[in-house]
């Protein structure tokens, strides 16, 4: 009986045990946790930052080859399956997937921080630095993250919808593990997916909480003590836990849709109130530079000058996207049943990417315009505190108070909806891939997400969030390479016309 329970709930017990141990360790020995995670993180970055670059580039090439090969016509489902959602509905959902806390957090601050602190071979705060800043913002938020999500999404969709297996990462390893997917190796794969999701999501929640706090401090002058950030996380936790346990999916959906409309309204307001021709020029020239240099950007680690810059930014982003990939991959797989591999890859790579490009051009380009043309001094604020950059930027617009309040509201709702979805995804990953997740698992994962975010913020703040995202992503990157291999094996067994 107990043996059967342990076998059935192995992934849940093991992953929850590791996460709880991590939280306990962080509470009892915060300094030791900080020094331990920093050591692991430094070892990964010192030795394997090149591996992150080459792996992510490989993921991009791999999905493009699949899309344009004869396998591109294979359906993610049975041959007779029709797409579950209409094309525009599907595109709208992908579009919404690209939105979240990250865009609000980094939309203004990333281009400004690159502008102020580029690698040593570029003059800081120069026009060259601005070009570099926008190009790298496009690069970090461009097609590479979506190639990462595509690998996981394609694998789950292929093995679950076409091959009839549970929607778990371990299912994708059947071609090499066989029935071993139900054994230790399979459970380990799922535990790594849970581990990556918890730390990836907690990093985003930490960013969100920091920025909400900065916004409130900026608007209402409330205390900047860490206890307030913790309080924000606890309130948001209560909200998303209530939604997850009460099962108010429809309410969450309405909230999520309203938030996307509010985000687009904020985007349009900034565009309408900003220098439109300048923004268009930034968009076209950055897009040109991005396309023209994509291979160099993909593999460039600046080993002779700027290596640390590449490690701190590009490798962090790749790790963060990898840690988000089980979550996003599972979602985009679920909405893509009945699509062909070609449709899936090309749409997933382009639609959300184009949206993020527009977002970064409007927010980042406008911020750079204020900085270069009007000497607004926002870059210095971003250099000091990245979470404050958005509010310092909005201050230069009419109705700054309303815009800032809208941004805070967006952040809170994104926090709640992301955490709610992550709780359900984690529950599903630890319940054999089923959609019905017991409440106790939702409680465990919901509390774990918030507790991990708090522990990381208390032990090392923003840096600790980034350190754990990179550390947790590393093993899952190896899992993703395995996914490419097993997907290739699966597809090679398909009878496809030449």
């Amino acid at each position: 009986m107990i043996r059967e329970y342990l076998r059935r709930e192995g992934v849940f017990l093991l992953s929850a045990g590791i996460i709880l141990f991590f939280i306990g360790f962080g509470i009892v020995q915060p300094d030791l946790l900080d020094s331990f995670s920093s050591t692991v993180h430094a070892a990964i970055l010192d030795n394997f930052s090149w591996f992150y670059l080459i792996s992510v580039f490989f993921f991009l090439i791999f999905v493009l080859i699949l899309a344009f090969s004869r396998y591109g016509t294979i359906k993610l489902g049975r041959d007779t399956d029709k797409p579950q959602y209409g094309f525009f509905g599907w595109v709208a959902m992908l579009f919404a997937t690209g939105m979240g806390i990250g865009l609000l957090f980094w939309g203004v601050s990333e281009p400004l921080v690159h502008f102020l602190h580029p690698p040593s071979f570029i003059d800081p705060a120069s026009p060259d630095a601005a070009v570099f800043a926008m190009r790298y913002a496009f690069f970090h938020w461009g097609i590479h993250p979506w190639a990462i999500y595509s690998i996981v999404g394609l694998s789950i969709a292929y093995f679950s919808f076409r091959r009839g297996m549970p929607a778990l990462i371990s299912s994708c390893f059947y071609p090499i593990l066989g029935d071993g997917i139900h054994g230790t190796a399979g459970k380990l794969v799922d535990v790594l997916a849970v581990f990556a999701t918890v730390f990836g999501t907690a990093t985003s929640l930490g960013f969100g909480a920091l920025q909400i706090h900065s916004g409130l401090t900026h608007l209402y002058g409330i205390s900047s003590a860490i206890s307030v950030t913790i309080g924000i996380i606890l309130i948001a936790t209560a909200l998303f836990m209530a939604s997850a346990i009460l099962g108010v999916e429809k309410g969450i959906q309405v909230l999520s849709k309203s938030n996307i409309i509010l985000a687009i309204a904020l985007l349009l307001a900034i565009f309408a109130l900003g220098p439109a021709p300048y923004i268009f020029n930034v968009f076209t020239s950055t897009l040109g530079g991005y396309i023209n240099n994509i291979i160099d950007l993909s593999l460039q680690s600046y080993p002779f000058a700027g290596f640390e810059w590449s490690r701190d930014w590009t490798v962090f982003y790749w790790a963060w996207w990898i840690s988000w990939s089980p979550f996003v991959g599972l979602f985009i797989a679920r909405i893509s049943r009945g699509r062909t591999i070609r449709e899936f890859v090309l749409t997933v790579l382009t639609v959300p990417t184009l949206f993020t490009f527009v977002w970064f051009t409007i927010f980042g380009g406008s911020a750079l315009h204020l900085e270069l043309e009007e000497g607004a001094g926002i870059a210095a604020v971003a250099g000091e505190d990245v979470s404050l950059a958005l509010f310092a930027f909005l201050e230069h617009y009419p109705f700054a108070g309303i815009l800032s309040l809208a941004a805070i509201l967006l952040l809170i709702v994104f926090f709640v909806t992301s955490a709610d979805s992550a709780t359900v995804v984690l529950g599903s990953l630890t319940s054999g891939g089923g959609l019905v997740v017991p409440n106790y698992k939702k409680v465990v994962w919901g509390l774990s997400l918030s507790a991990v975010a708090i522990v990381l913020l208390v032990t090392g703040g923003l840096d600790a969030l980034q350190v754990m995202a990179i550390t947790a992503a590393f093993p899952f990157m190896l899992v993703m390479i395995g996914l490419c291999y097993t997907l290739a094996i699966g597809l090679s067994q398909e009878k496809v016309r030449e």
Partner: protein
């Protein structure tokens, strides 16, 4: 089927060894041998006296085989493959020479080249089966044969050759990759078992004992593992064109020849012609 065999020889070949090989070949049904020597470009011995070849021919004639001596030139493996075709040989027999691994890596080996180039079945004689002594007659009836098949066209072609050995034990081995999901895997497993059963039935009249086994994994690794595990004398397999990505690793057949202690009979697929 093995009536006429082309046997490539080089200067320094030991007469006694060749005579033993002749006995073995005769035991397998050979009646005629084409003794073939390739003059290597730039070889120290080129154009010199080839009387050593006549001595080797005499050794084979003593066993009761008809022998003709031929010489050629150029790239050794290509010349042997071409000669086998021109002479209408049923097969090529080569005794594998031990070479330092590093030397093989740098220079390649003639047998490996030949396996890739020949359009005629190639028998590479390795440590097993041991060659018969002077006093002893070869006993092909004692041979243990491993027939490695993936049950497609390329693997069906060696079947008549497997039958020809008429040994003591034939083990039919099927190696494949695992299917992508449990349901397809189960269907495939049933189909494979059925097909192996049929192949085994066909072979039962030629062998005292026939067994079969299906394994999942890398073909070269599994063939070598099984061959060593049950101490087979000869491994019979078909040659297929290597997949693009397997080229740097070497084709399955080449990897088996390199790693096997058992002799290999490699039967090329019809239409799998080399343009060399």
């Amino acid at each position: 089927m093995f009536e006429k065999i082309l046997v490539p020889v080089a200067y320094g070949e030991r007469r006694e060894e060749l005579k033993k090989a002749g006995k073995l070949l005769k035991g397998l049904g050979a009646s005629s041998i084409s003794l073939y020597h390739v003059n290597e470009p730039g070889s120290f011995f080129r154009g010199t006296d080839l009387s050593w070849l006549t001595l080797l021919a005499e050794a084979l004639e003593e066993v009761g085989l008809t022998v003709e001596v031929k010489t050629g030139g150029g790239h050794i493996a290509s010349a042997i493959a071409e000669a086998a075709l021109l002479e209408g040989a049923d097969g090529i027999y080569m005794k594998a020479k031990r070479r330092w691994h590093i030397e093989t890596m740098l220079l390649g080996s003639i047998s490996r080249d030949l396996l890739r180039l020949a359009d005629t079945p190639v028998f590479v004689h390795k440590a097993r089966p041991r060659l018969p002594d002077d006093e002893m007659e070869p006993e092909p009836g004692n041979l243990n044969v491993l027939y490695a098949t993936d049950l497609d066209e390329a693997s069906a072609r060696p079947l008549p050759y497997v039958m020809k050995f008429r040994g003591a034990w034939c083990h039919v081995l099927h190696v494949r990759r695992r299917m992508a999901d449990p349901a397809t895997e189960q269907t495939r497993r049933k189909a494979v078992d059925g097909e192996l059963q049929m192949v085994a039935e066909e072979l039962r009249q030629y062998y005292e004992h026939v067994t079969f086994e299906a394994r999942i994994g890398d073909p070269a690794t599994e063939v070598l593992h099984v061959s060593d595990r049950i101490g087979m004398d000869v491994v019979v397999l078909g040659r297929k064109k290597p997949a693009f990505f397997s080229a740097p690793m070497g084709a399955t057949a080449e990897r088996i020849v390199t790693g096997s202690k058992a002799s290999i009979l490699l039967v090329p697929q019809s239409g799998d012609h080399n343009d060399s």
